[in-house]
Amino acid sequence: MATAAPQPVVRAGASLRSRRLVLVLAVGWIAALVLLALLADVLPLPGTDKPVGAARTPPFSATGPWLGTDGIGRDMASRLVFGVRISMMVSLGATAIALVLGVVLGLLSAYLKGPIEAAINIMTDVMLSFPPLLLLLALATVVRPGVGTLIVSLGLLFAPPFARITRASALVQLERDYITAARSLGAGHLRILFRELLPNCIQPVISYAVVVIALVIVIEGSLSFLGVGVPPPAPSWGGMIAAGKERLDGAPYLVVMPSLMIFLTVFAFNTVGDKLRRRASHGRSDA
């Protein structure tokens, strides 16, 4: 073992460097996606709903559109780009709702003792006892599927874990002297909650939020794949994969392209989330 000791250090350095490269690429990809989502309307794309050529034109062919066409001849590039917009709207929107709601509930349940705390905790437990996919399928029976309903229901669904994380770190922070100091200086409840407690609890919440974005992208994709998510003709990556899987033998590229988009996007968010979490835990051990 002793002879091998210096080696891991060199390797760790190499893996650190490649990890940094992956991180830079991930951030770049996310930035590109956000730009695409924002600029989708002004980009020179033929649109997502009308056929522009023969069905199932392969990508990079000499004659057709550069990414080819889908099963009924619609432009693949347009559908992928507008798919970015839907994916980003759902994942960022739902995560934002979940974060705000969860943080407020978590802070309140840590700060208030008694029945409100108990009520918030039991609601959290009930919500967490449903596997998300099951609850969303059940909800699809009673509400009309669409981007709006997806954002709201996913936002509500992911609020409880945010509440738990916030509560856990708020309970630790509440013991600290600065809270007592603020209290004896006459700070009101709202000031203590949102000016003192919140900034000191937010770091683990933020790194979790990035992971939730990735999770929501996967769940939205799964629901659309199952036909209960974003309703067609709107271009959703999951729906495109579901449509393309019928033609796997002749035109696998119909499935490969949206799959690649989902993979790269989820991977990018997971990479950033991992990095933030690692930084948060290092910060704590240094302190």
Binding site: P8, S129, F130, L134, L139, V143, G221, S259
Partner: protein, 330 residues
């Protein structure tokens, strides 16, 4: 009571504390289960119109709608509906399907074995692969093996199960024709045929679960390897393999057990994606077929079954934790 030895008093209070803790946990469990079932029963009241209108569509006559609402009890207020449902559920009656008139418990009993088989096999396969890979990778942290497998696990973690499934169909069914694209043969018609059809769905599910197990166990083993008792064992000259398997694996696997149990519950629901892709007659597909038909009794049944299983498994893991880790025993 006074004259008894001083040593017994703390023991008695420890027992009382333990009973109190178990009672509290049971009360919590029951209230969560009640709320879960209430949410299941309350689903119908989220519909914009009455269930009868929604199920029969705009062309139906008012009488038909009223008959259907009365038949399934949708016309009664929610608390009455819920108590009625709960009373029946406790006697093993979950109502009848609106589509087929079959008792819901019967339908669930037909569908559950398929989903259960997928879940158990997927969990077993992913653990079987993840545990040795994680222990080996952790024992040579940052070595070539560790970096390759950890890289693959990180990448795999970002591939949704439905993408994995379609990919497997393409490679193992369309290109090579080794496995059937869709379909199911029950276990009763022979193990080989059953496994032939179960292989791809199980592989897709277990590849989806593998990265989480691998990453968790790897980092826990790395942490355990830094403990003093491992150093002691190494200094005593015990073989590396013996130390890894007998000293390190058990204390490193506590979080893995918790996560695997949660994964079991999640797979019960999560198998809906592969069930749909491979056309398997499990709970997930049942749910998926009942959603457009708004077959509320069936949906309620699946939701309550899976959610209660999920809650119970989590409670069992909490309770069983002490068996595995003597340090948390009270």
């Amino acid at each position: 009571m006074k004259p008894t030895s001083a040593a017994r008093a703390p023991a008695a209070s420890a027992v009382r504390l333990r009973v109190r803790r178990i009672a509290l946990r049971a009360a919590h469990l029951v209230s969560v289960l009640l709320l879960v079932t209430l949410a299941g029963a309350g689903l119908a009241s989220l519909l914009p119109g009455s269930p009868g209108e929604e199920i029969l569509g705009p062309a139906a006559s008012d009488e038909d709608i009223a008959t259907l609402n009365a038949r399934y009890g949708f016309d009664r207020p929610l608390p009455v509906q819920y108590l009625h449902w709960l009373g029946n559920a406790l006697t093993g009656n979950l109502g009848v399907s609106i589509q087929t008139d079959q008792p819901v418990t019967e339908i669930l009993a037909q569908r559950l074995p398929v989903t259960l088989e997928l879940t158990v096999l997927a969990l077993a396969l992913s653990l079987l692969v993840a545990v040795p890979l994680a222990v080996y990778a952790a024992s040579r942290e940052n070595g070539a093996f560790d970096r390759v497998v950890s890289g693959c696990a990180s990448a795999l973690m970002s591939v949704p199960v439905f993408v994995l499934g379609v990919l497997l169909v393409y490679v193992l069914a369309v290109l090579t024709r080794w496995f059937p694209v869709t379909g199911w043969v029950p276990l009763s018609q022979g193990l080989a045929a059953n496994l032939h059809y179960a292989f791809m769905p199980v592989l897709a599910l277990s590849l989806g679960e593998f990265p989480a197990f691998y990453r968790l166990l790897r980092s826990d083993v790395i942490a355990t390897l830094k403990e003093d008792f491992v150093q002691t064992a190494t200094v005593r000259g015990l073989p590396r393999r013996y130390i890894l398997l007998r000293h390190v694996l058990r204390p490193s696997s506590f979080s893995l057990v918790t996560v695997a149990a949660v994964a079991f519950g999640r797979l019960l629901a999560g198998s809906v994606v592969v069930e749909s892709l491979f056309a398997l007659p499990g709970l997930g597909n049942l749910m998926l077929q009942s959603v457009p038909a708004k077959d509320l009794p069936v949906i309620q049944g699946v939701v309550v079954l899976v959610a209660s299983a999920y809650v119970l498994i989590n409670a069992l893991v909490d309770a069983g934790y002490g068996l595995l880790d003597p340090r948390v025993r009270a």
